[in-house]
């Protein structure tokens, strides 16, 4: 029988979760980026070290992918940094594409010209997601440090569309671009593209990044923004948006329901999903960078076993579990660790957002 991807994944997920098969891998193949977004947790131009010399080689990633495939990986996200910064990206992508994965690529789109899009169109990924940081050169200048990047991103999007590559847009909302909502929506609508908003800006990760939390919207503005987003999408088809609380797999439609939680994580991290940082460390997701688990040293299966153990031993925030605002809250162990330094201490920022959401029924 033939079937759609979603029905296939739905059919195997219960068994995969029960057996903890690593269906979904996220490879952070570079920390390097041609933009300099103030809020980014990873973009690092390399002023104090040389990331290119420390990131894994294409051969390393291919080896990891081979071992992960043996363990059951079928979904593969390639992200950065900006993936097209890697000179060997085509070599890497083509090798991975030949291994039977459903590949998704995250990009800022600015390095995608017609020739690059034609190459990608000849071996199409499952999907490309382009992050739009604003709807004008002025906004791009403020958010990314590169005003010229706006026209390049739009050009990249249109090149991908011309090649018929499955495409989705998303926007990371911060202080300098929240006013561009209507214009970004128009860009997506004109191209009949799905579009979503990333509304959680994580504090700086130790191995990369900037003081990103100082650049996110304050809670009152955040709630006002989210209210507007809700109103905008209310009249749209359900699949025309991503979850407001989008972050990698947290919006996965097959994410574990709360009553099925095996551990402190509500999402599929450590159940059927994993992340590998640019230095080759396996973690539950992009928000956690210190597990001490290195699959290239131990072998993938041993690393995956270690990650499951790491997740199972992650302490639960009891205050969060008991909290009456829990259903409205974006809390998770990874965010608590970044916000408070501990997996099980509540975050005043997340608490404030949840209370405000509850108060207006958002």
């Amino acid at each position: 029988m033939t079937l759609t991807l979603s029905s296939y994944l739905a059919s195997i997920l219960p068994k995969a979760k029960a057996r903890r098969i690593p269906l979904s891998g996220q490879f952070e193949i570079t920390p390097r980026c041609n933009l300099a977004c103030k809020m980014c947790y990873i973009a690092n131009p390399g002023s104090d070290y040389n990331p290119a010399s420390q990131e894994l080689s294409a051969a390393d990633w291919i080896r990891l992918a081979e071992e992960a495939r043996e363990a059951g990986m079928i979904n593969l996200l390639l992200t950065g940094g900006e993936v097209f910064m890697r000179k060997d990206f085509r070599e890497l992508y083509e090798a991975l594409k030949g291994m039977g994965f459903l590949i998704k690529i995250y990009s800022n789109g600015t390095l995608i010209d017609s020739e690059t899009a034609a190459w990608l169109g000849s071996i199409k990924p499952f999907q490309v997601e382009i992050t739009l940081y604003g709807a004008s050169a002025e906004t791009y200048g403020k958010v990314t440090g590169h005003p010229e990047a706006f026209s390049k991103a739009i050009s990249g999007i249109d090149c991908l569309l011309k090649e018929g590559i499955p495409l989705k847009l998303r926007t990371t909302v911060v202080r300098d671009n929240y006013r561009d909502f209507d214009e970004i929506a128009r860009i997506a609508e004109e191209r009949e593209l799905k579009w979503g908003v990333v509304n959680y800006i994580m504090p700086v990760r130790k191995d990369t990044g900037r003081m990103s939390e100082t650049y996110r919207l304050p809670p009152d503005l955040q709630i006002e923004y989210e209210t507007g987003v809700e109103e905008y999408f209310a009249g749209k088809q359900e699949d025309s948006r991503q979850s407001l609380d989008f972050e990698e797999f947290s919006n996965d439609p097959y994410a574990a329901a709360p009553d099925e939680q095996l551990n402190a994580y509500k999402c599929l991290a450590g159940k059927t999903a994993f992340w590998i940082t640019w230095r080759g460390e396996m973690t539950p997701c992009s928000s956690i960078d210190e597990t001490g688990i290195y699959p290239l040293r131990s072998g993938f299966q041993t690393a995956w076993d270690g990650l499951k153990n790491f997740c199972d031993l992650t302490p639960v925030c009891e205050e969060c579990v008991q909290c009456i605002y829990r259903e409205k809250c974006m809390t998770c162990p990874a965010r608590l660790k970044l916000e408070t330094g501990s997996f099980d201490i509540k975050s005043s920022y997340l608490c404030e957002l949840a209370k405000r959401k509850s108060s207006i029924g958002l």
Partner: protein, 87 residues
Amino acid sequence: MKIRDGFMLREIADTWMVMPIGANAAEFKSMLKLNETAAFIWKKLQNNITKEELVSMVLSEYDIDDLTANSDVEEIVALFDKKGLLE
């Protein structure tokens, strides 16, 4: 008969599926889920083989009669052919 290049059979969580790989991924939008017998036949069709040889292999692998083996092979090969998976 032989399976075309550009497809991969994978077993994940007790289910067998055929994934288009490389340039084929742009052409084939859906995936093919196979039962165990179909997966067995797929694997045999990685090499050039006749229908009669396939029936013989199915009979050796499974405890079924000639009629059932012939019928299964006919049905599965026809499916592969219809989907454009055979050379």
